[in-house]
Every structure is written in structure tokens, then in C-alpha cells.
Chain length 614, copies 2
């Protein structure tokens, strides 16, 4: 089969990705960071993933005809789960097709979360004080709110004294759980925003959400930044070391992080046309080290054996005390951790995916700088952290780079080696998904043998195309494969995959594969027996399932059982903004998930050695 890459543009986002012919549109959208509804699991039976193809829509499938209105089909509407990329496309994705709605609002695979935000506003009328009605102002305010157990802290009482005279008075009450967070004179119930942060070692994502009511919850704005702590080390351990060696280290890293979060807040406010004062709550997830630093808690113990976290529980603190400048009374809710190397981002993944509610046994994988893996169902959950290293984020790879403009993100070997480049220009390196592609393709044609060695010369099997044979060179005494010659590279040297790069890929994927095997064995199943494999995280969204399986990064289940769930960490942070009860669920997940320390498992080394092979 001839395989080519095409540009797919998503509207109204205006984001483009390069996708191989035959890629499912839901996957291409995932690559663009847009996750679609698929309550039926991509079976083409629920009709929830409808999108509009702007020009030259391909022939409708039987599912399209069955589930969509004929007039819509004629206008180019199709089901994204049945649609494959067959050329350059422009696709419009309506709000209701987007993933967030599914998580928060609709039914599907145990992912139903009611809209009941911790943060609410009520416009109430406080009764007049009279000689007959001698209740305190606060008691009359509580009665107007009409909810049991509502409490007010001192600053609110102080404000109340100025706001309520003895006459009848209408006020907007900002409620945070059972707490009166603030009082406003006008009816401001039409403005209620929350911000959800995903604090990754490498990337920060912030989402501003409209929490006024259920119908507005899809009104979201997104901003992202590189974590500025990167200047103090690529991974969490080097940052913990920096903190340990510098008296002001914790403060410095914390302030850097807060600075970027505040920039994102301003950017999000500009997008939405609001002031930071209109944001009444923040939530945050991240790996354990990141949330410790955010909260000013020394993460030293996470960095040394036995790698214990200082706090596991969720934390609620005034946002201004934590250092975030949003509404002066806003709360910051940080989700709970599981262990030193399995943080609230993993709790968020379990929460957002519905793993903990489902009968089906699923594996959830979040591949970032570390790989966190969870297996289980509603009865039992087991998690581990795999020291995969940053290979899939481009580090320790000779031409490795992050998945930004100029990165080779897809590789296809036909007669020669063809590459897809993010942004479409000349490439300057290879990002994680490109790395998975090239290794898988070279394995397929036999250039890499099962031990990971690059064959050359007489060792090469017969079917290797000439152009590929010619791309094999010697580099530092070992074979290497040139993906892009100097003439077409942006960095004025050929972009190549070295023998050493392949060893890094082997180490990384072996760590994840062995981790999966340990927790699957602990759970009592084989990895290929699970009902579903959920792939989360930025990197996860960009890799091709078949190739990831080919190199052993994902378990050998049928491709249909591998599902991309997008930035599940971010989804978790958003869910707890929109759903108060989900905080308790997150706490339960944090407590119930059994953590397996791989360093302590005799079987891990055995699995790890086996998993080094392709």
C-alpha cells in the first residue's frame, strides 16, 4: 500500500497536522490536540463524533448514512471515527463533538460526571431586619441562600457589615463548597470562571472554563508554556537536586513556575475578555515533585530512596497564599498524589478515563519524561512509574527534539525514507512520534534486527530498497541511518538515527513494557488480555498505534482496543473544576490505587531484560 502524508486542518481552531494516508480522522484530531467524543469506542454506532468536511468530502460510509441526516451528509458531515485521511482536508469540529463535554456532561463508558462545580454564584435577596426579625445579618444571608451548613470566614463577615444595612438587600453570593467565598453588590452571576492547570515537568497547560452553568461549560480557553524550571534541569530528579544544593532553590523554582502560571492567566483572561479577578477558583495537577514545588513543600524525600512523598492528600489553599493572583478569595485545589513518582496527573488520568468506574480491565499509559502506568478496573487499581527517561521527548537522542515546528513527527519507508515535518518546512530534528515511526519502519524492512542492531552491508536482507541501503552510513564507529540529507535539512548536517539512539529507545520502551508486565502480573492478567489500552499525554496523541506496538511500547492488543484519551491530566483538573463530587472520587483513587515500586520487584529486572529486545 502506498502511504503518503497529507495536511489536515481543523476549524475553528485553525490547527494543522500532517497525517499519513489511512489515518483515522479521530487520531489526526488527537495529534492536533483536539479530542473527540467516542462513547461507542469508535465503532460507528453512536454518531457522537460527527464533523463537517469543508471540501471534497469522501464518500459517506454506511454508518454515516445510518446515523446522520441526509441533508447533513450532503453538506459534508461525516463520523470522524469512520473517516480516514485520503488527501489534504479542512474539517470543522463543532463544540458538541469535543471530548470535554463527554467527560463532564454525557454518559459513556463510566465517564459520566455531573455538572456540580465547587464554585457557584447565587443572586439572593436578604430579608429586612426588623424588631421582630432580630436574626444577625449573617443568619439572614444564610437563610436567603437556603442551603444547610453554609459557613463564612471573617473577611466575608467584615465585608457583610459594609454591604448589608438593615433594609432588604439583593447580593451576589460566591459559594465555594459550603463556604461563602465572597459577596458582590451587583448581579454578577453571569461571570464565573475557573482555571485548571496541568503542570508537567516540560509543559504547562492552563484551561480557563466558564462555570456559570451547564450550557456554558464548553466555553474554554487554553494556553500553554514550557515549564521555565527547565533551566534547572530536564527531569524532576535534577530539579530536586538543585533545590537540595541551593538554599533559595525551592523558592526560586516555585517563583519561576508561578511567574509562568500568572502569564498564562493573563493570556487566558485576554482571550476571554475578562479580568483575573473574575477567576474564582484554580485547580492543578502535576507529578508529585511539581505539585510539591508549586505549594512550596520541599520535595527532597522524593529524590532519594525510598522516594517517599511529603503529602499524598489533596490540598486546598487560598490562591493568593499559594502565589496566584486571581480573585483575592479564590481557592486553589491541588489534586492528591499516589506516590513519589505517581502524581496527581495520574490520579487525573484515572479520573478522566473512568478506569476506576469501569468493569473492563484497562491499562492507562501516560508517557512523559517518566512513564506512569496504571492497570485495573472498578475493583482494583495498580500503578507504577517507569524510569523511561526523556528519549521520547527528544532528549539523549542525537537529533532529538520536542514536538514543535521543524520536528520530524512521521516517517514512512516506501522506496526510500519519507518524512512528515511539523509545520511543513525543512526538518531540524526528530520528535518522539518520528522516533517510534523510524524504528518501527526499519524493523519492518529488516534494517534493525530484533536485538536493536543496525545491519549494514552484507547483513542487510534482500528486500531493503536501494535508497534505504544508501542511507546507512558509519557514525562514530557504528552504523547509522540518514533520514534527511544535509541538503534538505535545516541544521546544515544530515539528520540521522544512530545506533546509540536505538539503544536509548530500547531502554525507554523496555522500562515501560516491563512496568506494564509487572503490574499486569500483579493484577493477574497478561498485558494482551486487557480490554482496552488508554494512551494519554501529549506524546501519546502523536504516535501511531501499530508502530508503538511494533517496537513494544504499547502492549500487543488489537489496534481497535488502543484508545487515545488526550491530555487526561488536564481533563482531570477540568473535571474537578466542574464537578465537586469528583474531588472525593480523586481522593478515593489516590487512596485505593496500589503503588508498586519497581526497584523493589525481583521480576522487574527479568521483564526488563526481556523487553530490551524488539
Amino acid at each position: 500500500m502506498e502511504r503518503e502524508t497529507y495536511r489536515v486542518t481543523f476549524q475553528p481552531d485553525g490547527r494543522s497536522v500532517f497525517a499519513l494516508r489511512g489515518t483515522k480522522l479521530v487520531e489526526a484530531a488527537g495529534q492536533a490536540g483536539i479530542i473527540l467524543n467516542q462513547p461507542c469506542g469508535g465503532e460507528g454506532t453512536c454518531g457522537k463524533c460527527r464533523v463537517e468536511v469543508q471540501h471534497n468530502a469522501p464518500e459517506p460510509t454506511p454508518s454515516d448514512r445510518r446515523l446522520l441526516d441526509p441533508a447533513k451528509v450532503a453538506d459534508g458531515w461525516r463520523l470522524a471515527c469512520q473517516l480516514t485521511v485520503t488527501g489534504d482536508m479542512v474539517v470543522s469540529i463543532p463544540q458538541e463533538t469535543r471530548f470535554f463535554e463527554q467527560i463532564v456532561l454525557t454518559e459513556g463508558k463510566g465517564r459520566k460526571y455531573p455538572f456540580n462545580p465547587n464554585l457557584r454564584k447565587r443572586y439572593v435577596t436578604v430579608a429586612k431586619a426588623t424588631v421582630e426579625d432580630q436574626r444577625s445579618h449573617l443568619d439572614r444571608l444564610k437563610a436567603a441562600i437556603g442551603e444547610d451548613d453554609v459557613q463564612a470566614e471573617l473577611p466575608v463577615v467584615r465585608a457583610l457589615a459594609g454591604l448589608i444595612q438593615d433594609e432588604e438587600r439583593a447580593l451576589t453570593v460566591v459559594l465555594e463548597g459550603d463556604e461563602i467565598q465572597w459577596l458582590e453588590e451587583a448581579d454578577t452571576t453571569r461571570s464565573l470562571w475557573g482555571v485548571a492547570f496541568d503542570i508537567g515537568t516540560t509543559t504547562l497547560v492552563g484551561t480557563l472554563m466558564d462555570l456559570t452553568d451547564e450550557s456554558h461549560v464548553g466555553r474554554q480557553f487554553v494556553a500553554s508554556r514550557t515549564n521555565p524550571q527547565i533551566h534547572f534541569g530536564d527531569d524532576v530528579v535534577s530539579r530536586i537536586t538543585y533545590i537540595g544544593q541551593n538554599a533559595d532553590g525551592l523558592d526560586k523554582l516555585r517563583k519561576r513556575l508561578l511567574g509562568s502560571l500568572q502569564e498564562m492567566i493573563l493570556e487566558l483572561c485576554a482571550q476571554a475578555g475578562i479580568e483575573p479577578e473574575a477567576i474564582y477558583e484554580a485547580t492543578a495537577v502535576g507529578n508529585t515533585t511539581m505539585t510539591h514545588i508549586l505549594l512550596g513543600v520541599d520535595p527532597a524525600s522524593i529524590g532519594r530512596a525510598p522516594y517517599v512523598t511529603v503529602m499524598r492528600e489533596s490540598v486546598d489553599v487560598k490562591a493568593r497564599e499559594a502565589g496566584l493572583e486571581i480573585n483575592r478569595n479564590a481557592n486553589l485545589h491541588v489534586l492528591p498524589n499516589i506516590a513519589g513518582f505517581v502524581g496527581s496527573d495520574t490520579v487525573a488520568m484515572i479520573l478522566a478515563s473512568g478506569m476506576a468506574r469501569d468493569e473492563a480491565v484497562q491499562i492507562g499509559i501516560d508517557i512523559g519524561t517518566n512513564g506512569e502506568v496504571v492497570i485495573g478496573n472498578r475493583d482494583r487499581l495498580i500503578a507504577c512509574s517507569c524510569a523511561a527517561g526523556p528519549a521520547f521527548e527528544g532528549a539523549r537522542i542525537r537529533y532529538g527534539m520536542r514536538a514543535t515546528e521543524g520536528a520530524i513527527s512521521t516517517v514512512v519507508i516506501n522506496d526510500g525514507i519519507e518524512v512528515g515535518v511539523i509545520g511543513g518546512g525543512r526538518p531540524s530534528g526528530i520528535c518522539g512520534s518520528g522516533l517510534v515511526d523510524i524504528v518501527a519502519e526499519l524493523l519492518d524492512v529488516g534494517v534493525i534486527d530484533p536485538t536493536g542492531r543496525i545491519r549494514d552491508g552484507a547483513d542487510l536482507p534482500d528486500g531493503v530498497p536501494d535508497a534505504v541501503r544508501q542511507a546507512i552510513v558509519r557514525f562514530e564507529g557504528q552504523p547509522a541511518v540518514i533520514l534527511v540529507p544535509e541538503a534538505r535539512s535545516k541544521v546544515r548536517e544530515p539528520i540521522m538515527l544512530t545506533q546509540r539512539d536505538i539503544r536509548e529507545v530500547q531502554l525507554a520502551k523496555a522500562a515501560i513494557q516491563a512496568g506494564i508486565q509487572v503490574i499486569a502480573s500483579e493484577f493477574g492478567v497478561r498485558p494482551d488480555e486487557v480490554d482496552r489500552v488508554l494512551v494519554a499525554g501529549g506524546f501519546g496523541n502523536f504516535i501511531r498505534r501499530s508502530h508503538a506496538k511494533r517496537i513494544g511500547l504499547l502492549p500487543p492488543v488489537h489496534t481497535d482496543r488502543i484508545e487515545y484519551i488526550g491530555n487526561a491530566a488536564s481533563s482531570g483538573a477540568k473535571i474537578v473544576l466542574a464537578c465537586r463530587d469528583c474531588r472525593e472520587e480523586a481522593e478515593e483513587i489516590s487512596l485505593a490505587t496500589h503503588y508498586v515500586e519497581l526497584a523493589n520487584r525481583p521480576d522487574f529486572q527479568m521483564y526488563y531484560m526481556d523487553a530490551m529486545m524488539f
Copy 2:
């Protein structure tokens, strides 16, 4: 009967008072601010009020012989409830005889409060973190504490990160309710102090209490100050007016108050030989205006009809946020109010007296600048505030003064007018108890008629001694009575009681008497039908029961049924330091006590007019 005043000195306090011959020693001690145990109600049957008379102890009573060890009786030990003042005395009062023990620790008239302070210290050993025990540091600390629902706020978590390494670690945990308030490296469980404040309009009282364990709870230190807000007005209404008319008024009054409280803290610490950092909790009671000002809540609405309070509930706030410098994590608990003019001091009186737990129907009276009165039992409580005015505190009385050195505090008419002076020197004025005495005595001899008019000349009845007749002069066109002639006065003019002074006394006592009648009628009894009348407050401790009844200030019940309960407001503040559950009881009292606004009662004016008569 010949009546003279004698000096009674109490040890080890070193306080002296002047008491009339025949005064019960428990009353004399009450005048000195020392309240004794009387679980049997002064019947001489329980033996709890034992004291040691230093020299020339009077003959033992049958009760003394029955209840005390013969050797002790020989050493001068007597029951204070059976002992009367018959000459100058020096009496030693042991700790176990003092009232606080009774309130907090022992059984008696429904006043049993268990020792279970909100504040506790535990010296615990936190288990070593291992690869097998991956619980967070905080989870291991919680397990070491071994109590359910223990929580920690962020500053504690931050401190924990520095204190606990992975090794086994012993720590002192300071617990405030279910909250870990702080962690200390050494075993500091032998030092745990709380401070209880009674914030009166006129007087501030602070008590430092040792909360380490039940056996130390009697270790208390007391300090007092005049409320410095007096410069802004004698009563609450003038202070509210000052706040309303000055933009910085609330802040200024609050800071003045905090300044004095802080001075008292330092004085108490000096007495106890501790640092303010060793005080881990503060409690406070006061009238509603005082606690509003303390907490920085504008009391404006209390000062205007319908006199509604901003907050009724108890308040918990970090002491440092409230402006008190004790332990940096200490809590300040302010007891709840009932209404704008019935504050947490009244809740404290109800709590300390056990009124709300007793089957007997009791009236509680706290006469300060205002008079707060409560009637009821465990089934029902009704309260009101009587605008008695400050006459009994010396204000609006020509020679009126507070009960300090130089004040005439007792008056006896035999052949002439004899006065007892606080401190024993020349008098400079009359305090509240002296005022009650002189009015009652003049009523008895017929110098004052039942309408309150001073008789003179031919109007005087026959039995008036000559010396008294000669003391009646004309002043501003009306009769007046000279108590102390110019020659023996400190102020270089005769100290007299004017017709106008008597009118002030009539207005004040009428307000209280009518208030009692309204709430008694609301309760469905006559004031003289109640089982007991409890008299609280500084002034209350100094008045003679029979005289107070004579002028109509106290209901006409048998004198045995009138009981002094000392500074019950202060006792309430101390009780909630030592007994966590009592905070809930205070909240229940605050909610359950029905407030009657006298201004709104048609029957009040009628009772008030009647009560103007003697």
C-alpha cells in the same frame, strides 16, 4: 445588731477586702474576685469550700466538725460557707477549693465539664519510610497520631518536609481539634498554655491557663486592665457612634483594644515565666459590640434600630490574623452571641452557670454597663438586655466612681452613717455597691420614701438618728445626704448622695427589674417563684443581697436562693479553653436562647413605671 466593717485578706493571692460583720466568707472572697467551690449551694453539707483561717479562727460549726478532719479543725480549717466575718481575718484558700476546678472538673448542679481541651500535644514516633512502607510523610505522621480525621494545613506540610527525613522520628504534635496546628522537634508536651479573655466595655480580664493535663488546669494567672476604648466613650453606643463618624474609627478602637490585650499577654507570660510563643490558643467573650470590634467587623448595625448584630456565630480565626501575638499558628476562638445587646459574655454566663442543663428555673443577672438578664432551664431560655445605664459603675452619679481604691463600697447606718472604703483610706467617691447600700439603708430608716424622694425637716419619721438628720442638706434646690463631711473626704468637699443620684438609681434598677418581669412573664413564672437567682459580674460580687433586694435590683426571693457566680463571662471563656465539646454547647445556647427586645414589648413600659418605686 451592731455592724462594722473588717479587713479580710486572702492568701496566697494577697488580696484584701472590707466586709461587714456577719458577711459570709464565700461572699467576702467573691468581693476579692476569688470564687469558691459550693457544689452543695452553701448548705454546709459537701465540705468543698474548706479554707484555712491563719489566726484566731472562730469556733468551729457543727458542719466543720462533721466534714473536716479534727486535726485540720484544730489548725484553723473551716468551711467558708459557714464562716462569717467577725473581725479582721487572714484566710488561706487552697487550689482545690477554688471555683474553676468545680466548673471544669467536678460534678455539681449540672456544671460538669470534662477536661478535653481543643488544644492538645502529643509526642509521637513517626515510622521509618521504606521501600515497603511508601506512605507519605504526612500519612505516616497521621498514623503515629492515631486519630481519625486529623488534617494538616499547608504551613504544617511545609514544616514537615524539613522535620521528617526518612528515618524514624519523634516529634511533638500540637493538635487543635482535628487540625495539626504545628510540629515541634523536642518533647514539649509539658508546656501548653491557653489564654481566655473577657472583654468588657469597661474592664478587660485575661486568664492564662495550663492545659497540659487535667491535674494542671488549676494553674492559672490573671491580669486585668481598663478597656482603653473608654477614651472613645463610656458605653458601647458612644463607641459605635465614634466608629460611624471616623473613617479610621474601627481600626483605631480595634488597635487600642489589641494593644491592651497584648500587654496583658506579656504580663501573664511574665507571671508564668513563659514566652508568648508557648500560648497556643486564645478564647474571648464580650458583649456583641466588643467582639465585633475585636474582629474588625463594623458594629454600626448594633447601634441603630432594630439593633441587629452582623454575626451571631462563634468565630475561629488565626490569632495573628486577628492581631494577637502568641504562638504564630494559634487559633482565636470567639464565643457566639445571642443578639445585638446580648453577647457572648451572656452565653458564657449561661454556659458557666449550668443554667441550660439544670431542671431548676433560674434567673441569671449580669450587671455591667448594661444589664443582661436570662431566665430559664434546660428546656427553654429567654434573655433580654436592660438599658440600665452606668449608674452602678459610678457614671451619672455626682460622686460616683468605679470600685477602685478610695471608693465607698459599703455603707451602714447605726447612730450615724458609717462607710467602708476600698483600700481603707479617705474616700473620694461612691461605687456601685456603696450606692446600693446607702439607698437601701436610707429607705430602711425612712429618709427616702417609696417614691424615691428624700424627706427632710418635718417630713422625716421619728426613728431617724440625729446624726443622719444633720447630714440632710439642700443641694441645687433639692435635699441631699452627706455621707462623708469635707473634713474626712479626700476630694476637699463633702461626699453626698443627691436627689438626682437617687433618680438615676431608680431608672437603672427599674430597667433591670422590668426586664426581669418581662422575661419571667414570657417564661410563665413570677420572678419570686424561681429556684435560684445567679448574680454574675464584678459589680454583682460586691453588692449585699438583702440591700439589692431592698431597692428592687434583685427579685424578692429568699437570700439563700441568691448565688454569686463571680465573673461568669471569664469562666465561660476558660471553660471553652479546657473543654472542646463546650464550644458546641455554647453554639446551642446561642441558637436556643430566645431574645426578647424590650423596646418592642407593650408590657415593658408598664412594668418599668411600676418598678420606678422602691
